[in-house]
């Protein structure tokens, strides 16, 4: 009894998500038959063919280039955001200058900076990197500052009472306490940053997955465009899953994130 119920549960946990994907694929295939125009709605087998071609060709290079843009921009944005948050929490004067500027810049979407980025860096890696940098800076800054300001003062007192130096309080109390908020910001900015990066590569770079879309469009290869879209979707999904995994393993101590045993 128990075993068959477990098996049923296991099968369902795979079948249910799969059926959603299958439904989407079937819907697309029907649309392509109705449209009867392989350019307008390329049928699945054509897209698959393009995907295989891509995999034999430039796919790895494109993915590596995109991930490189992502790592560079996200890394610098996260570090700067964290540093600014620490400075703002420590010095009221810095906060008084940074806060209003950040409040004004924050709602501007990263993508809107594309023309300026092209102007500043020229077409190339600089554009997507700058856009991810910009997209990750503010969510991480705002969330980190919020997290740092909400640190339970009793925990700081407890650490001081136990003999912790000022530096130790920052590295071992303030930062870990702010970590859940920083992670929330990081996930947000990775989502926004991924989108901004594709846009930046599409119009302002000569490498990466976004550029590949642009490239296929030049040759009017819509199955190529669709194949690249599929790759972008899968990688975007995997990145978020990776961050979620990291979140639940790093925040195992937090009742809200890591599951209790």
């Amino acid at each position: 009894m128990r075993r068959s119920a477990g098996l049923r549960h296991f099968l369902l946990s795979w079948l249910e998500p799969l059926s959603g994907v299958v439904a989407l694929a079937v819907g697309w295939q029907i649309a392509s038959m109705v449209a009867a125009n392989p350019t307008l709605v390329p049928p699945l087998q054509t897209i698959w063919g393009a995907l295989v071609d891509l995999a034999h060709g430039d796919l790895v290079n494109d993915i590596v280039a995109s991930l490189f843009h992502l790592a560079g921009g996200f890394g610098t944005g996260a570090i700067l955001g964290l540093l600014l948050a620490l400075l703002c929490a420590r010095f009221e004067l810095v906060a008084a200058v940074i806060d209003p500027i950040a409040e004004f810049l924050r709602p501007i979407s990263a993508i809107a900076w594309i023309p300026i980025a092209i102007l500043l860096f020229g077409v190339g890696q600089g554009v997507p990197m700058f856009l991810i940098f910009y997209a990750s800076l503010f969510p991480i800054f705002v969330n980190a500052l919020d997290g740092i300001r909400r640190v339970d003062p009793t925990l700081v007192r407890a650490a001081e009472m136990l003999g912790a130096s000022r530096r130790l309080v920052v590295t071992h109390i303030v930062l870990p306490a702010a970590l859940p908020a920083v992670f929330a910001g990081a996930r947000l900015s990775l989502g926004v940053g991924w989108v901004a990066m594709v846009a930046g590569e599409l119009v302002g770079a000569d490498t990466g997955l976004g550029y590949r879309i642009e490239y296929f469009q030049e040759f009017f290869s819509m199955e190529g465009v669709m194949a690249t879209i599929v790759v972008i979707g899968i990688i975007g999904y995997l990145l978020d899953a990776l961050l979620r995994l990291l979140q639940s393993s790093l925040l195992r101590w937090s009742p809200a994130h890591g599951g209790s045993r």
Binding site: P17, G20, V21, A96, I111, P115, T228, G233, G236, Y237
Partner: protein, 260 residues
């Protein structure tokens, strides 16, 4: 710190930076390559006078509003459905997550093909960007409604439709509004991107349909007017800021218990 200083200090810092910038650009004779603060003011005056700026802004905002409305009309029902029916959630979630991972911009070639360059392609991109915050927040809201409310309503003899109208919607409204706020920000951000991308592709898309993104492409590639480009950025910034703070204020007034 006194309130006067709190307001004055950032202004003072920005003003000093701007003056230093102006002096540096003039001293190094790089006008035209690097934007000049006084040049930005010049083009602001010129462009508001001939009306280009406002008409572009108007057509961009129009697309944002329509795209936003389409996203709401699609996203809220889907969100309610997957939030209240667990099977739908388990089947559709991976598909939605996958689609969400695709940058809306990536659809531009397809959208141009399907809907044409005359603004409709940009509409598609806007709706695509804005639909996911609606879905996510509405489903999350529906899921958070206590089961006991359902049981109570059911035991009173309420059918499924009445249940949704009288229990699910009111309980979910604050979350949906938060979703709408995010969706609006996404919509406004992606209209510019879409117009940019389309504008770069189709230089022939002329004034009649030009939004602010197309105007930027024109400025960057055709007229190479760096000062105007910075002006557009500032305008975009101001509009972004106004949209964001306006919706925040609306939320605070309509639903004072949901301040997040």
């Amino acid at each position: 710190m006194s309130p006067a200083m709190r307001i004055g200090l950032p202004f003072a810092v920005v003003a000093i930076v701007l003056v230093a910038w102006e002096i540096a650009v003039r001293a190094s004779h790089t006008q035209g390559l690097v934007p000049l603060p006084s040049g930005v003011v010049h083009s602001a005056l010129a462009l508001t006078e001939d009306g280009t700026l406002f008409s572009a802004l108007g057509s961009s905002l129009e697309r944002v509003v329509i795209g936003f409305a389409i996203a709401a009309a699609i996203g809220i029902p889907i969100g309610l459905a997957i939030g209240t029916v667990p099977v739908l959630d388990r089947t559709l979630r991976p598909v939605l997550d996958g689609l969400r991972g695709v940058a809306p911009i990536a659809w531009i070639p397809m959208a141009i093909l399907w809907l044409g360059v005359r603004g409709d392609a940009a509409l598609f991109v806007v709706a695509y960007a804005a639909v996911f915050p609606f879905i996510l927040n509405t489903s999350e809201a529906a899921r958070r409604i206590p089961r006991s409310l359902f049981h109570a309503a059911e035991s009173l003899g309420a059918g499924r439709l009445l249940l949704i109208r009288s229990v699910v919607l009111p309980g979910a409204l604050p979350f949906v509004f938060t979703g709408a706020r995010i969706a609006m920000a996404f919509a406004w951000g992606s209209i510019i991107a879409a117009e940019l991308a389309i504008g770069i592709k189709v230089q022939t898309a002329r004034r009649a349909v030009a939004g602010i993104g197309q105007l930027m492409v024109d400025t960057l590639y055709v007229r190479r007017d760096v000062d105007a480009l910075v002006l557009y950025m500032i305008v975009i910034g101001i509009v972004s800021f106004l949209i964001d703070s306006g919706l925040r204020r609306a939320q605070a007034r309509l639903m004072p218990w949901t301040q997040r």
